[in-house]
Symmetry: C2
Subunit: 223 residues, 2 copies
């Protein structure tokens, strides 16, 4: 805390910044199906803003790869195909592996304890079959590792890519076998974290992502 009073500046985000966040969430929730047109005018109405900030926001999202802008024909929800998944997952795996390596060097005992708590919760939600809750814990643990890595640029790149790959379509649909495997993998991950074994954790995270990708491909191929 810098100032003596502890008073922080009033947060005054610009419209376009807020729109970027809200739109990204909307798109991740599949409010508009991938490949469909984004109804700019309707959105302006819904958010009660004019076209200027909305279009600024769409351009930022386009640079992130979440939407696609076709000149003179508007904005479309970027459609992820298998090729894009195939390209994206190795990159995601490399970033997570790096996060694991860095995290080992800096993670505190408190954070490790938290990771263990999340892992236990995951196992519990797996047993009770609560996919949504499991998914939340899963995200929490990966976020924890990213945060422990304490590398803002890594976090940012990871976030950008994860957002791009994680459309609702591919969200929480793993078959039972894969789900069980994922739980096991997480046990191993948290154990490597506890031992602060950077090389092992790095490797585990990489194969974890790789396996998730393989499972996803199977799902997509089957429909």
């Amino acid at each position: 805390m810098k100032s003596k009073t502890g008073v922080t500046p009033i947060d005054r985000p610009s419209l376009h910044a807020q729109l970027v966040d809200r739109l990204r969430e909307l798109l991740l929730e599949d409010a508009f199906p991938p490949g469909s047109k984004i109804p700019e005018a309707d959105l302006c109405q819904s958010f009660a803003v004019s076209r200027t900030p909305m279009r600024e926001a769409l351009k930022v999202l386009a640079s992130e790869g979440v939407v696609q802008l076709v000149p003179n024909r508007g904005a479309w929800v970027a459609d992820i195909d298998i090729e894009e998944l195939e390209a994206g997952f190795p990159v995601l795996a490399a970033l997570e592996a790096l996060a694991g390596k860095l995290a080992c060097a800096r993670i505190t005992d408190t954070e490790i304890a938290k990771a263990e708590k999340h892992t236990k919760a995951m196992a519990a939600f797996f047993k009770s079959g609560d996919r949504r809750a499991y998914f939340r814990e899963n995200e929490a643990i990966h976020r924890l590792i990213l945060e422990a890595a304490a590398n803002p640029i890594l976090s940012q790149q990871h976030e950008a890519l994860a957002v791009r790959l994680r459309t609702g379509r591919f969200k929480a649909n793993e078959d039972q076998a894969r789900w069980a495997q994922a739980v096991e993998e997480h046990e191993a991950i948290v154990s490597a974290l506890r031992e602060r074994n950077a090389d092992l954790l790095s490797k585990l995270l990489e194969t974890h992502i790789e396996n998730k990708f393989q499972a996803l491909i199977r799902m997509v191929r089957q429909g």
Copy 2:
């Protein structure tokens, strides 16, 4: 070629897309020093556009991290500090390592021949002391590996990060010892590429980037 006639659509990029590219180049060339204010009005004049596309472009560049937008106070050239370099380089190294691994699996003999040509040219420019020409060959070889990896998402993430880290300030300033070392490293890199030794190439690229970073830090610390 899809159509029988071979006629391709007329390229009609929007103003903001062109501005993004031109501004990024300007900023990389240190047309405005890091940390300085970006004179929006002047730029509009220079490019003969109105504020709307210019501001759209600045917002895209802000999401890339090249400029910083302060609400109600305009756009500033993002200043890279040592912490950011420290955070960015491991990520860059991981991405290059992945690129090397993927490239080994797909690179053609023709591409390898090109890589060898670039490496020879680099050595020659090193001997003649032509830093600028050396730098170009260096970029060409790294680009070649990225392209051989044939992973558009990897290319995109790499590009975004490289742009962010490579301000003119840190551009072509290596001391003689580091320069000689870099030339050697490149010989090893192209040799691993020739043998399509994925693990070795991956490792070599990682340490190559790591060494470059160390040299940079030394330069910055000295001034």
